[in-house]
Symmetry: C2
Subunit: 529 residues, 2 copies
């Protein structure tokens, strides 16, 4: 991973000329070029790691400049702003890479003894500050890189169950189970880098989670190394034995301990996929059609509906010569309308099953006023589905401020929440778009993207003002503070609104029990009590 | 509800002559008749309720003999043995029936102040001792009857969401939402009496949960009155904001507080239902076919497969003249086989959707060697689906010992677990049957029924020995200690094996936070620390 941005140079591609041209027009010009510093020019502080840890774990410890910089943060906009500027003064004092569950436990216990904070590190893709190297009350902090826990421990084809080390990348797991004709079906935008432990720790949802289920639904068992002991929850399809402990571990974001192993539900790999574009006259009309689809039990595996602004910006940035542009022109011509909202819907399965399911969805979408744009649009979406973070790097190179955030609410409240959040963001960014990304019988998610010229030297303040306005609006509007990005540090100020004081106290009691010295991931998830 | 058994006299029917005749043959005779005592002959102890509670809550308090007897226990076999014998010496000292959430809170706080234990009471249907009036370290105990919290607070048709008071019976809720063309789809055997709060507190699963989802999946929001404060979790389709608090409340069995309100997901009520019988040559063959069905994404809403012994006992007890008997004879004649395993499969929906889904299931069941028996068998099952507990009363009248228990495991482990539990029970009961009752992609449930002549005067010891043997076998065999009956008092000895020491400590920490005086439902769910 590039220390200052997403992914690897080899996959980043060229700066997309059409997108930059469109943004130049929309924003009245780009910002000043904002290149990132070279790796060797990033500033890190002196390592304050206690000698005891260094002596005991020398074999799995790195504290060289590059390792510390690369583990200093995740991939949120403020993370990248600081990395690009070469500011990693707070970098972790060392990176430890244990080779198994027992070594994770040993590291945690040594950190408790030495008074060192621990930030679990999986794929390094957090976009909410989940990897900030905060020290809490401690003098030092280590990054606990779980990358060496990457084994497939068990592949039980009969039970459609895989048990994997927490550090295994989801992409690698997917490749491994595909060899046996199975799929995990979990495709977040971070798919190529995210780890299975990270997905569990953050209650991840992927682009196909409408069909395959959220990560928390895929988790059948989990192993947590906590300072106070191991929580080892064997894979079970279901149980009624008390509150669901695995759902206390899933979503715990490293504050209770480090997830070392996850058991996951698999499905038969699809023989056939069909993805296609649809057009609706308005966001409301499209959302109504999707509501009908999911409540009628004929939801596709992927369903994404852009609002008017996102449709316009996606098409603008893709360029008029693109597949999407051609599809839109065809629609506009056929319908004699001035605009509309694009949707992508997709089904996986056997060809026969996809045909039957698609017939059910299509009938409802048509009844809801949708017009089919064909498969070329869907295929274009599939090809570019993991490219978003690279595009962010390109536009940041050109001095732009770009961020995303997401929420969810009931269908009855969806448009109200959409309007209040969009309106709050409009005060902070020239371009604000939104899409529905996940469908549920009782509601849906809203994913906002916003973009403007960065205020040079005040990027973090600019970001914070927009983020605060949006989150306040989400809470006041009845949404959840996060649908799939997790809490990290960015959403901590709104956790009291989400969980209530009694809920926060319950979570704090859990933490006090499992991590009594409070070394695990300070400052994340829970506001100070 | 009859204080000594299930339901109401008017619905109990006559003792089924065919069943008793078959049991007489199988067991080598019935036991001695074992009638229940009359209500007025049940012994209760002197009420030890502190005067302060009596003065403050006189308006909602009952401590007459009948109320105390009726709230003394649930409906497990040992519960009924004691009630029938007139032993309610440990009956709660009073029954309080608060009229709303705030009054529940006030009662809990008064109980904390007075040092009185609280047993939340919903429909009164626990089969695991969840309503035992245990006092813990306190001198008195009240039954907190939530029956007056029976309002439908909100019916949001657009979001397919209903918010109901915890005391509302599921049957009543179902009737109310059906008026609007919706269904909850939750049909446990206790359907006619169980409350929505009770289903949430115990992680209930119903007969159609393979299709509609377990109760924990239906819960979109929940309100808990805990001694330490309110936990008020607004309905959300999904969230990634930390560990899932609602799953800490769901399954908490009254030990953290009293659930006062539940928000539940609804579906469109089916226009059409089709239930039919199937026959498989063996339990293994039938389970394999069901595994294929659920892993291929073509599971029916209801799927139940009896093993050879349960098939034989169901048919024997139904009588040769019954629909089921006729179906079996038809099968035996057509196939020229000596026996087999019966299954019931059912689909709900529009006629068109049921036809399409049924075609998918049927193809797979046939490929798995199944033979269709037709709808008359399915309809017979539907008619009798809530009759089991009445039948238990009839056979207990005739001096028999009858109990059920359930577990779940992965598909790869299903037959191993089945064999070890059946074998453990065979040492304790002449008749042992089992069925698969719920399907999941990664595994299934196993529901055991066992029956023998009761040892008069030693009924509880007889039950305890069988229960212990089965539960030890479940834990050693890799199953969960309960799939949908909950923990109550009966499964407490196996909770350490289920959750591990660290897991138990985490649950205890939650309890200490929410119920610091430990008044809530002592002795349930958690072993003493």
């Amino acid at each position: 991973m590039r220390f200052w941005g997403w992914g690897e140079d080899a996959f980043a591609g060229e700066a997309p000329a059409a997108a930059l041209a469109w943004l130049t027009r929309e924003l009245g010009g780009l910002g000043d070029p904002a290149p990132h510093v070279a790796l060797q020019d990033v500033c890190v502080g002196e390592s304050a790691l206690p000698g005891a840890l260094r002596e005991r774990f020398g074999e799995i410890l790195r504290d060289d400049h590059a390792a510390r910089v690369r583990h200093a943060r995740g991939k949120s906009y403020p993370d990248l702003v600081r990395q690009r500027a070469g500011d990693a003064l707070d970098a972790p004092d060392a990176v430890l890479t244990p080779r198994g569950h027992d070594e994770v436990r040993a590291v945690l216990q040594a950190c408790v003894a030495a008074g060192v904070a621990v930030v679990p590190f999986g794929g390094g893709t957090s976009v909410v500050g989940g990897l900030e190297p905060l020290r809490g009350a401690h003098a030092a902090v280590i990054s606990l890189d779980l990358g060496a826990l990457d084994a497939v421990e068990l592949l039980d084809e009969r039970s459609r169950l895989v048990v994997a080390g927490a550090g295994l990348r989801v992409a690698e797991l997917e490749a491994r189970v595909r060899e046996r004709g199975l799929t995990l079906g979990h495709f977040p935008q971070s798919f190529e880098y995210v780890s299975v432990g990270g997905c569990a720790a953050t209650r991840s949802a992927g682009q196909a989670s409408t069909g395959y289920g959220r990560f928390e639904e895929l988790v059948q068992g989990v192993r947590l190394a906590a300072p106070a002991g191991d929580l080892d929850l064997a894979p079970r399809p279901a149980s009624a034995a008390g509150p669901e402990l695995r759902r206390m571990v899933v979503g715990s974001e490293g504050v209770l301990g480090a997830i070392t192993q996850v058991a996951l539900r698999l499905r038969t790999a699809p023989e056939y996929e069909r993805y296609e574009g649809w057009m609706f006259s308005s966001f409301e009309a499209g959302a109504e059609a999707l509501r009908d689809v999911v409540q009628s039990g004929v939801a596709p595996d992927v369903a994404r509906l852009s609002d008017e602004a996102e449709t316009r910006s996606n098409l603008g940035m893709a360029g008029l010569g693109s597949v999407a542009g051609a599809a839109l022109r065809g629609y506009v011509k056929a319908r004699r309308v001035g605009g509309g909202c694009l949707a992508v819907v997709g089904w996986d399965g056997t060809e026969e099953v996809v045909r039957a399911r698609r017939a059910g969805t299509t009938e409802r979408l048509r009844a809801g006023g949708g017009a089919q744009l064909g498969q070329q649009f869907g295929r274009a979406w599939q090809r570019s589905r993991f490219h978003g973070p690279y595009l962010r790097d390109h536009v940041m190179d050109h001095g732009l401020f770009v961020e995303t955030l997401e929420t969810a609410t009931t269908w009855a409240n969806l448009h109200h929440l959409y309007r209040v959040v969009a309106s709050a963001l409009a005060g902070h960014a020239q371009i604000v778009g939104c899409h529905v990304s996940h469908l549920y019988p009782t509601g849906a998610s809203l994913y906002f993207m916003f973009l403007d010229r960065a205020r040079r030297g005040e990027e973090i303040e600019q970001w914070r003002a927009a983020k605060r306005a949006a989150c306040d609006a989400i809470v006041a509007g009845g949404g959840t503070i996060t649908h799939h990005h997790a809490v990290g540090v960015d959403h901590v100020p709104w956790m009291a609104a989400e969980a209530g004081d009694t809920g926060l106290d319950a979570l704090r009691a859990l933490k006090a029990q499992l991590d009594p010295a409070s070394v695990m991931n300070p400052g994340k998830l829970l506001p100070a009590g």
